[in-house]
């Protein structure tokens, strides 16, 4: 169990498997904490892109560490876990009458200059930030943080941002992303344990990757609860998995024609397991592998 599971999960559930962690009113039971959270949602929403490219924020280790301690956190998950999370989120969205959207990834916008619709946001934080930001540029839709009145939101969302109203749509998108080789992250943006989004990104553009590997704040994105384990007897060293790994954990030896996965480098995204045609890679729980056990 990672330290967020210790803090926010329980004996049978990981922190992102608990239904309560998806409900705004369960995480913030009283009005003062709700107001505080709302204020914070407003401020982060208005400054996201600004922050992602500003050294003051992205490169300042102390600042990032403080934010991580204050409840910014995320964790790598496998595709199966992602589907579970989506089902939980879907239930929560129906229960509290908020929305689920597919929006563009702000990291990719900042570092690549394009809008790529690979982030699923759900719950009250999304609904609130829409309320804050909506009201400009009617034709551009939500992507420009502008548009129409709240009552028109759903209609406009269909043009600008995709709304996976049905789970089947979301599942289809996930398959697309898996094929493109994007890893999956479940995240809370400053309001742990409230879970707000699933992000699909790659090493080249991911701000969370940078926070961990360049700025050196591992709490910003924890390794997943699973580790890839290769069965050398079924592995044909065909090469499908080598370029799937974003973290340099997979090594192929041309001398002995074998592949090995370093459990200390494996982040547990499961992309290699999904790509393997021979089912030689299994995702096993981190506790089962002593070398990787307490490395988050």
């Amino acid at each position: 169990m990672c330290h967020w599971c210790n803090q926010h999960g329980d004996r049978d559930h990981k922190w992102y498997e608990k239904q309560e962690n998806y409900l705004f009113e369960k995480v913030f039971p009283d009005e003062t904490s709700q107001d505080k959270a709302k204020e914070e949602i407003k401020s982060t929403f208005s400054q996201t892109e600004w922050r992602y490219s500003d050294p003051e924020f992205i490169r300042n280790k102390q600042f990032l560490q403080d934010r991580a301690d204050a409840g910014f956190g995320s964790q790598i998950i496998t595709k199966e876990e992602m589907l579970k999370i989506l089902h939980l989120a879907d239930e929560a969205v129906k229960r509290e009458d908020s929305i689920m959207v597919v929006g563009h990834c702000p990291c990719r916008l900042v570092y690549e200059g394009v809008r790529d619709y690979v982030c699923i946001g759900f719950g009250m934080p999304v609904a609130m930030s829409m309320e804050v930001g909506y009201g400009r540029l009617p034709k551009e839709g939500l992507t420009e943080y502008g548009g129409a009145e709240w009552s028109q939101l759903r209609q406009d969302l269909r043009k600008g941002v995709k709304v996976p109203l049905m789970m089947s749509e979301a599942e289809q998108l996930i398959d697309e992303w898996e094929e493109r080789g994007l890893w999956h992250i479940v995240m809370s943006r400053g309001r742990l344990p409230l879970i707000e989004a699933i992000c699909n990104c790659e090493r080249r553009y991911c701000t969370y990757w940078m926070n961990r590997f360049r700025s050196g704040v591992p709490e910003y994105v924890l390794k997943g609860h699973f580790v890839a384990r290769l069965d050398p007897q079924t592995c044909a060293s065909c090469g499908e998995c080598w370029d799937k790994c974003h973290f340099g954990a997979i090594h192929h030896s041309p001398t002995s024609e074998t592949v090995d996965i370093d459990p200390t480098l494996c982040m547990g995204c499961g992309l290699c397991a999904g790509a393997c045609p021979n089912m030689a890679i299994a995702m096993v729980p981190r506790e089962e592998i002593p070398a990787a056990r307490d490395r988050w």
Binding site: E49, W50, Y52, E56, E144
Partner: protein, 115 residues
């Protein structure tokens, strides 16, 4: 207008003419804002350096922060975006961005020597 931001490893200065990143390890990346045509809102606009850079030195951001305290109808949209060399200290000196920039807007210096 002059904006400066500092982290322990790189200092970025932004004014109307250029955005300049000076890193602790001797790398200086200067982007001439008068020549650079980067625009987030033009889908066919130039983003050559962002695509090319193998170590992701560059980042972009809106010139102004979004201010949601202003009523929606009075807000000015942040159509102006600027290119910054956020990770200047990671530059490996391949100079692909300097050569490929269609407007020669990027200058990189390693310890005062221009690439």
């Amino acid at each position: 207008m002059l904006q400066t931001s500092k982290s322990d490893k790189v200092e970025i200065t932004l004014d109307d003419h250029q955005s300049r990143a000076v890193a602790h390890n001797g790398v200086t990346v200067t982007i001439d804002r008068e020549k650079c045509t980067y625009s987030m809102y033009d889908p066919k606009g130039c983003r050559r350096c962002l695509q090319l850079c193998p170590v992701r030195v560059f980042g972009t951001r809106p010139l102004e922060k979004r201010d949601f305290s202003i009523p929606p109808k009075q807000r000015i949209d942040p159509t102006k975006w600027v290119l910054l060399a956020t990770w200047a200290d990671w530059c490996n000196g391949c100079a692909a961005c300097v050569q490929q920039c269609p407007h020669q807007a990027i200058t990189i210096e390693f310890d005062g020597k221009r690439l």
